[in-house]
């Protein structure tokens, strides 16, 4: 069926009568002329070819055809709408508009977001009264403009006009789930889901459409041609992860070249203390390269580092930030039921080992907390979480700890306490199925029947960063520790790393990666009833090396991204809780949550990248660097047809992939025919010219 995208021009079809009118008027105005030799004229005409004799009729036909074709081309006809519905049928439409950082990519003065937004607005304007619609702005936390789909198209239009692309990454899966919820609320029978995005492979590759009902038609509107030219800084790494004054420091800047050509880019690193350095980096097409800058600082201070490259079509990722905190003392949240100040509790020895000198600048900053008092802000501030004898752990906290670990945190769990088997089992239930516990804890055994009454450490994996300091036996002798009570365990998962083993073959320390973080199960306890570990000089270095080994990975990679939350731990003196904490930065409406006792400060949902400066009690306390997600730099796209998990799905359609040619209306209303009509008009005019030039052929 034909549909006109510009039906207002239909009256212009009357112009097709112009050639006919001219023809008729010309015929009427034709003069009558006497001629005695008419018979010769008749013979001459009779001898001309038939085509030539009807030439004037053919000319009339061609001219009329040309006029009709031109007018029809401007009417923008389409045929056989692939999304077409009957005119009277009500339709529910959910528009998911990507507002992630990559949508800021600008080519030819038009950003991908502008193109997508214009098409979305055009689509809204094409809806009929009675249709239902809603708009979902897709960033790290997708939001629907209206609570439910409604006919308030003008409100949606205003919301779209006011919308801007942000600096966050997109979470398309969350947006699609939200869209499915919205469609479920709609009353209309016909349902459509429109996705306006650049379809970055990094964001969309794992998106599944299984949850979208089969009767819902999905329309992908690509706002990018996939041939974008962008170079961005995708990461900054600090070596060593916890630098100290006087220590050589390296800052490594990762750059990604999202184009098809080799690029040479000058990278400049600027420091807040006035230093700066520049170097050129060659980057292969669609590849990563690194620029490494070396420094050495002689004062304990917080230094803001800004890496930048020349501004290109996507300026957001041309700058990246990092804070080097030479005052930094890693924070350990110690979860225990015991009183850390009461000797000879095991927790007391653990806390004392972590920070031997409470007033010094060495060791770790320890925040002891009861299991039931654990909260997310506290977890945010933790560089490492240590669990020791936390028998009163509520079910909810296992979930929080699991999220913490899989989200990139480090968890060291001492297998101590009477119900340790149940605790570890409860933790394992919360872990992803694909990444189970490295081992199961069976029960606690008292080693009285082995003759010696104890076991010692006999095997160590010194290649591990967590134990490399003990490779030299002179450093510390781990075998001198006597363990009288340990936990029996199952076989260690081969994917996990067994760091230490007792002489009876039981695993003493096992590390495994869980999600983005690390889980270290330590089958030992400093409790005097379990071992003489607390008395041994190897205890403190063993615990410190475990934590530093975990942190060497964690601190280098941990960064705060726009769209997420950011945190810092402020130094608090004993008995001097923080009373007033504020924050200034690129996002003026940032919400600050702080714990006056522990000094943890959390910035909830940081929308914009940049340096955020935290002021505690009127004094500058810390800086936090927030960057955009590295995924936003890679502008390579995925063909939306690849996305469908169910290949049998037929209700998916793809609009043109060139930003200049996005035309949702045309796709929604069928295949466009206007270019065929223009070709017809050109051919008709060409044929008309040929016909006017043709000479009469005289038959002999």
């Amino acid at each position: 069926m034909f549909t006109w995208l510009n039906p207002g021009l239909l009256p212009w079809l009357l112009a097709a009568g112009i050639p006919l009118a001219i023809h008729l008027l010309t015929r009427r105005a034709r003069s009558r002329a006497p001629l005695p030799t008419v018979k010769f004229l008749q013979r001459a005409i009779a001898q001309q070819s038939k085509v030539f004799r009807v030439r004037h009729l053919l000319l009339l036909l061609l001219r009329t055809l040309a006029v009709i074709a031109i007018v029809l081309a401007f009417l923008k006809p389409t045929i056989n709408s692939r999304l077409g519905t009957s005119g009277a049928e009500r339709t529910a439409v959910i528009l998911v508009v990507d507002i992630s950082a990559s949508m800021s990519y600008t080519a030819g003065g038009i950003s991908s977001f502008s193109g997508a937004r214009n098409e979305a607005m055009k689509l809204l304007s094409s809806l009929k009264p009675g249709d239902e619609a809603n708009v979902i702005l897709c960033d790290a936390q997708p939001k629907a403009v209206l609570t439910d789909p409604a006919s308030d198209f003008s409100g949606l239009d205003r919301a779209l006009r006011a919308a801007q692309h942000g600096e966050q990454r997109a979470e398309p899966m969350a947006a699609i789930n939200l869209a499915v919820e919205q469609l479920a609320k709609a009353k209309s029978k016909t349902k459509r889901l429109y996705l306006f995005s650049d379809f970055q492979r990094t964001n969309w590759a794992n998106v599944k459409f299984d949850g979208v009902p089969a009767d819902t038609k999905i329309l992908f509107v690509a706002a990018s041609s996939g041939k974008s030219q962008n170079i961005g800084i995708t990461g900054m790494h600090l070596y060593p992860a916890t630098p100290h004054v006087g220590e050589p420091i390296s800052v490594e800047c990762d750059l990604f070249n999202s184009s098809d050509a080799i690029k040479t880019v000058p990278v400049t690193l600027t420091l807040s203390n006035g230093g700066h350095s520049t170097m050129n980096v060659d980057i292969a097409p669609n590849a990563t390269a690194a620029a490494t800058f070396s420094f050495q600082f002689d004062t304990a201070a917080e230094v803001e580092c800004t890496a930048s490259i020349p501004v290109d079509n996507m300026p957001m990722d041309d700058t990246r930030r990092l804070v080097i905190d030479l005052r930094h003392m890693a924070t350990v949240v110690l979860i225990t039921d015991e009183d850390v100040n009461k000797s000879p509790n095991g927790a007391f020895f653990v806390a004392r080992a972590l920070r031997p000198d409470p007033n010094g600048q060495s060791g770790f900053r320890v925040i002891p907390v009861k299991p039931q008092d654990l909260n997310n802000p506290l977890l945010h501030t933790a560089d490492v979480v240590v669990v020791y004898n936390a028998q009163q752990m509520p079910e909810l906290q296992y979930h929080a700890l699991t999220n913490y670990v899989t989200g990139g945190g480090n968890l060291l769990w001492f297998l101590s306490g009477t119900n340790i088997g149940e605790q570890i089992s409860a933790l394992g239930k919360q872990l992803p199925v694909a990444e189970p516990l490295p081992m199961q804890v069976d029960k606690v055994v008292k080693l009285t029947g082995n003759g010696k009454g104890y076991v010692t450490l006999t095997e160590a994996r010194y290649e591990s960063p967590l134990l490399k300091a003990f490779k030299d036996p002179a450093a510390a002798d781990l075998s001198r520790v006597h363990f009288t009570k340990i936990c029996t365990t199952s076989e260690v998962d081969p994917r996990a790393e067994t760091l230490l083993k007792f002489d009876d073959g039981t695993a003493a320390a096992v590390r495994s990666g869980e999600g983005s973080g690390n889980l270290l199960l330590v089958n030992m306890s400093p409790d005097p009833g379990w071992s003489d570990l607390a008395k041994q000089p190897s205890f403190l270095p063993l615990l410190h090396e475990f934590l530093k080994g975990l942190l060497s990975h964690e601190l280098g990679e941990r960064e705060f991204l726009a769209g997420g939350s950011a945190s810092a731990t402020l130094p608090t003196g004993a008995g001097h809780p923080l009373s007033h904490v504020t924050c200034t930065g690129p996002d003026p409406e940032i919400k600050v949550t702080s714990d006056p006792v522990t000094g943890s400060v959390v910035l909830d949902h940081v929308d914009r990248s940049g340096f955020y400066h935290i002021v505690a009690d009127g004094n500058p306390a810390a800086s936090i660097a927030v960057n955009i997600s590295a995924d936003e730099t890679d502008l390579r796209t995925i063909d939306p047809r690849e996305l469908e998990s169910d290949r049998r799905r037929q209700n998916s359609y793809l609009a043109d992939t060139s930003a200049a040619d996005i035309d949702v209306g045309a796709l929604g209303k069928g295949r466009p025919l206007w270019h065929y009509l223009l070709i017809t008009a050109i051919v008709a005019l060409f044929a008309e010219q040929l016909l006017t030039q043709i000479k009469p052929r005289i038959r002999k």
Binding site: A33, P34, T37, V38, F40, L41, A44, R55, P696, I698
Partner: protein, 309 residues
């Protein structure tokens, strides 16, 4: 009535086609025309009939019945025989000027200032009549389209010339071209052989025309054909598009002259070629004249051709 009309009104009857400036030109033609006519008839036209006239031709024996006064008594005295003295009779040449007055002869092309074919033919006929009478011969004029409408008998007097001119002036185009019928009518009106000059557009069937002319040829006539056409007939009028209407029938045809001109000219040339070739085959002088030419140019062309032959 404008000035030219008044001057025309004041003209003496019969002077329309024989203007003073034309007469001056015709004087110069007179000598040449004389040569031409003599070329046809070997001098001052001696009569093919022997008669009693001033010029001695021959003797023949007397036979009963001859007039006694024609006996040459001197020859009888010398030879003692009766001889009759024969004299060649000197005659005047009769020239019949036949002018086609059919409707098609009224055509003057798209330019209203141009003379019509009939006017052009009348000029030619008047000039020829003047020349013929000036050299002592007799001129006659026959007018007709479908049939012989008007006939001025041959005469060699100025009065006869005047009658011819008046007849030409009064000729009005009418009827279809039926030249064969007109010629047949004229043939009946001629008493002696002579010179037949036919001035027409000859837009008729050539076979019928030459069939009629054959009668004159058999009678011993010398024939001159002047085919008069306009430039617009030769080339088609310079119009983008027109509805062409036949002047002698109700036929009409819509055409764009520019697109059909080549084919039309080919058709017309074929017709003209047929006319000319059939004339040559019958030893008839044929001359094509267009109204854009001066009419005496056609006569001059004729004279030059005769001189060469």
């Amino acid at each position: 009535m404008n000035l030219s009309d008044r001057s025309n009104a004041g003209q003496k009857a019969g002077s329309k086609y024989l203007r003073i400036e034309d007469l001056r030109r015709l004087k110069s033609l007179q000598f040449a025309a004389k040569l031409v006519v003599e070329g046809f008839y070997q001098g001052k036209h001696r009569s093919p009939f022997y008669d009693f006239s001033a010029e001695f031709a021959d003797y023949r024996p007397y036979t009963p019945g001859d007039e006694i006064r024609s006996i040459d008594w001197r020859a009888y005295a010398r030879t003692d025989r009766h001889y009759i003295k024969l004299f060649r009779k000197e005659t005047d040449m009769s020239c019949y000027l036949m002018v086609d007055t059919s409707n098609s002869m009224a055509y003057r092309g798209v330019n209203p200032e141009s003379p019509s074919k009939l006017e052009y033919a009348s000029y030619m006929a008047a000039a020829l009549a003047y020349l013929i009478i000036q050299q002592g011969d007799k001129a006659s004029v026959a007018l007709g389209g479908e049939k012989l409408e008007n006939f001025v008998p041959a005469g060699g007097t100025p009065q006869n010339l005047q009658r011819i001119l008046i007849a030409l002036e009064r000729a009005a185009p009418a009827g279809q071209t039926g030249l064969a019928a007109t010629l047949k009518g004229l043939f009946g009106a001629t008493k002696r052989k002579g010179l037949l000059v036919v001035i027409s557009d000859f837009l008729d069937e050539p076979d019928q025309i030459y069939s009629a002319l054959s009668m004159f040829l058999h009678k011993g006539f010398a024939i001159l054909m002047f085919q008069v056409l306009t430039d617009d007939e030769m080339l088609l009028p310079p119009l983008d598009s027109a509805l062409f209407e036949d002047m002698e029938s109700s036929a009409f045809v819509s055409a764009e002259p520019n697109s059909v001109r080549v084919a039309y000219q080919a058709e017309l040339q074929a017709f003209l070629h047929e006319m000319e070739s059939k004339a040559k085959a019958r030893r008839i002088y044929y001359q094509l004249a267009t109204t854009s030419q001066a009419y005496h140019a056609a006569l001059e062309a004729y004279v030059s051709v005769r001189r060469r032959s």
